[in-house]
């Protein structure tokens, strides 16, 4: 390779420095020309969804900023779930509110976990700061919504599944995105939502343009909200049956099994990762099954079918080498017993999706955020 001239190096220096300090926006490249559209895209948030992150105080923020990739901890089961989805050839897009300066360490963490992805968008808060756009530092909707719309324009999938958490406004953003993509939100309504979310005018104009251009299809059929704050699940009831609040990733895997996205074998791998984390035991997993059935998120029959299929998978070697576990026949019987002991379920727990009043939801979210700040969490 020919050594680059001094002038050449000098002219690319600002660009390299800008890259290093995360000054530039990352724009997803989309699909290469002629490539077939993805079957299923999975969009993941990182902090509090994939990574156990605390940013409720300044000390937490500072700690999070200086952590190395090896220090960062993924939630039990999340890595196995992401890898299972990737192995099936699905598209993985990560949209995180972490600053672009964290790209190196976050990418290293994902590499350490063996998580491969197609897109990885971070928030350019340095640019916001330099431009004096302080409102944008905390804003979620004006950041995440265009990032997701842009991504979909580049690679429109038949189906999409989104993963977020209960720390901020993920449920609102994801539902809004799902409804825009399905063509259920008019541009006038979207404009009202953007005003309520205090988006800057140029950001709002860009979002409206993206919403106009995004390929319309009712693609987003499942949204998961990881209950990191252990919020009451009923708080998400009005978002309808497509949004499933989950206490852990075994529950997400169960629902995805019910959606025919994951196989029983893949659900077992998620479960094994959770057991290996030492934060969960078989009893917890059995209780997690009961919880999603009780909340009407999967049918009893689906759970029992999973147990039967998992037993088959275990027979064919899915649990080989796991001497720390009891024979799967006994595990499966215990899971069945947990389903049996549940008794009758209230059928009225899940309500059909009614049109959401996003302006009201955004106002409520702002109010919640103010209250949380007032109470110091």
């Amino acid at each position: 390779m020919k050594p680059r001239s001094l002038i050449g190096r000098m002219t690319t220096l600002p660009s390299r420095v800008g890259q290093k300090i995360g000054l530039f926006d990352y724009i997803p490249e989309g699909l290469p020309p002629g490539a077939p559209p993805p079957r299923h895209t999975f969009r993941w948030d990182l902090d509090k969804t994939y990574l156990r992150t605390e940013f409720d105080s300044l000390a937490d923020l500072a700690k999070s900023a200086i952590e190395t990739a090896a220090d960062k901890q993924a939630y039990p089961g999340a890595t196995a779930l992401l890898r299972a989805l990737r192995q099936d050839g699905h598209r993985i897009c990560i949209v995180s509110g972490s600053p672009t300066q964290m790209r190196q360490v976050l990418a290293a963490k994902l590499a350490l976990d063996g998580v491969d992805y197609d897109e990885f968008v971070l928030k350019n808060n340095l640019k916001n700061l330099l431009r004096g756009r302080f409102r944008a530092l905390r804003a979620q909707i004006p950041y995440k919504l265009p990032a997701m719309l842009q991504s979909r324009i580049g690679a429109p999938a038949d189906a999409e599944t989104l993963f977020g958490d209960d720390a901020e406004a993920d449920a609102i953003i994801y539902c809004l995105y799902a409804d825009i993509v399905a063509g259920r939100v008019s541009l006038t309504d979207l404009e009202r939502v953007l005003i309520a979310s205090r988006a800057y005018d140029d950001d709002a104009a860009r979002i409206l343009d993206l919403a106009r251009r995004v390929p319309k299809h009712d693609a987003v059929n499942r949204l998961f909200i990881h209950l990191d704050r252990r919020s009451a699940p009923v708080g998400f009831k009005h978002y309808g049956p497509r949004l499933v609040p989950v206490f852990n990733y075994f529950q997400a895997a169960l629902v995805l099994y019910g959606d025919h996205v994951l196989s029983a074998r893949q659900v077992i791998f998620v479960a094994l990762e959770m057991l290996d984390s030492k934060q969960y035991e078989l009893g917890h997993l059995a209780t997690s099954v009961q919880d999603v059935i009780r909340r009407g998120r999967i049918a009893r029959e689906t759970a029992l079918q999973l147990v039967a299929e998992a037993q088959e998978a275990a027979r064919s070697g899915a649990l080989s080498g796991r001497t720390d576990l009891p024979p799967f026949e006994q595990i499966s019987e215990a899971f069945r017993a947990r389903v049996r002991e549940l008794g009758p379920i209230d059928p009225g727990l899940i309500e059909p999706t009614a049109p959401l009043d996003y302006v009201r939801l955004v106002d409520e979210e702002h109010e919640h955020r103010r209250t949380r700040r007032k109470h110091g969490h």
Partner: protein, 378 residues
């Protein structure tokens, strides 16, 4: 962590494998004046506060399934076990248990008896709860009779936790008690106070009609003679009723009949004081002003003696811990009762009681027993 023989056995019996440090606490979700709402709320809060516990709510699954999602909780640590019936607070225990074999307290006690739970918490009908446990659980080796304990706020604080409550037992699990029973109650009460109040040497006393060793009915006199000889217990002799609120003893031992009368009287006195204060508040402006001036002190007193912070009192002597929460328990009291149950399990309360009872029995075999029925009452 290896898949050892004991776990294989447990699994063969149909139980889900749990780590030794994981405690399964069964809660009668339908028992109590504020059930199931406050009970479920308390259990939900406990699921967040106790990561090493799994909480099993027993009751109407449909009702519990409606309530749980309304509360912050950990869905991997709270489960529901359906029970189609429950016993009302004012039902007659034996009749109610016979008429409702699948009531929540019976199902809950069954779960623990089968090994699918480690401890039980209930705020429901006391008689039915005790009877349900007595019919299904076995007594610890060396324990002749179980004892129901109650806590009472006193002037003094005790243990590393500065606990203002003393323990009184038995308060009604049985009616009569022999000298041996009273000695057993003393051992059990002391083990419990050591663990829950973190009181290294709780002062144990017998309730009598005088402080002299020879006073009281024959069983009390004989128990006194036996307890004086024990070295493991910090036995301070007999105390009188007026010493209970003074906090002279940390563990007050008496028969179920006397204990129940004492407890009800203490509750009656407390209620009367509150009623008198209300009367004074209404009656004269000067009295009202006096009460207002004292209000911060009264609040302080209330917070010190708040029974909800204690959660509940145990039924001692069985092979599993049972914490009986007050019938009027709210969510906070239930959370604390679950914490007490978890503490009892973590501290191996039943194992400690069994060990103490075995030591006591061994000593009784070694030494010629004091003439148990020789003392006469005054």
């Amino acid at each position: 962590m290896g898949w050892d023989r004991s776990r294989r056995r447990a699994f063969a019996a149909g139980f889900v494998w749990q780590d030794d440090s994981m405690h399964r606490i069964v809660v009668d979700a339908m028992g109590g004046d504020h059930a199931p709402d406050e009970i479920v709320q308390g259990a939900a809060e406990a699921s967040l506060a106790l990561p090493s516990a799994e909480i099993i709510l027993v009751g109407d699954a449909a009702a519990l399934g409606r309530l749980l999602p309304q509360m912050r909780h950990d869905g991997a640590r709270v489960r529901v076990h359906h029970a189609p019936a429950f016993i009302e607070m004012d039902e007659k225990p034996a009749e109610a248990l016979a008429g409702k074999p699948e009531c929540s307290i019976a199902v809950a006690a069954d779960l623990v008896a089968r090994g699918d739970g480690d401890a039980l918490v209930s705020a429901g009908n006391t008689g039915a709860s005790v009877l349900a446990c007595a019919r299904r659980w076995t007594l610890l080796p060396g324990v002749r009779r179980a004892a129901l304990a109650a806590v009472y706020p006193t002037e003094l604080r005790r243990g590393e936790k500065d606990d203002p409550f003393s323990l009184i037992l038995d308060v009604g699990a049985t009616i009569d008690a022999t000298a041996d029973d009273l000695v057993g109650f003393a051992v059990m009460g002391s083990a419990y106070a050591k663990l829950v109040s973190q009181n290294r040497r709780p002062r144990v006393a017998l309730l009598s009609n005088g402080t002299e060793a020879g006073k009281g009915p024959p069983a009390v006199v004989a128990a006194n003679a036996a307890l004086v000889e024990t070295t493991e217990l910090n036995f301070i002799g007999n105390i009188e009723g007026l010493d209970i609120p003074r906090g002279v003893a940390d563990v007050v031992v008496t028969s179920g009949f006397v204990g129940n009368v004492v407890l009800k009287m203490l509750e009656g006195v407390s209620d009367t004081v509150v009623r008198l204060a209300r009367y004074a508040h209404k009656e004269r402006l000067a009295w009202r002003l006096g009460l207002i001036a004292l209000s911060s002190a009264i609040d302080q007193l209330k917070s010190i003696t708040d029974w909800q912070q204690y959660g509940g009192a145990p039924l001692l002597g069985f092979s599993h811990p049972f914490i009986k929460a007050h019938g009027r328990s709210n969510a906070r009291a239930i959370t604390n009762a679950i914490k007490v149950a978890q503490k009892s399990l973590a501290g191996n309360l039943c194992g400690n009681i069994a060990r103490s009872m075995a030591e006591l029995e061994e000593r009784a075999h070694r030494r010629p027993r004091a003439a148990s029925e020789s003392g006469a009452g005054s």
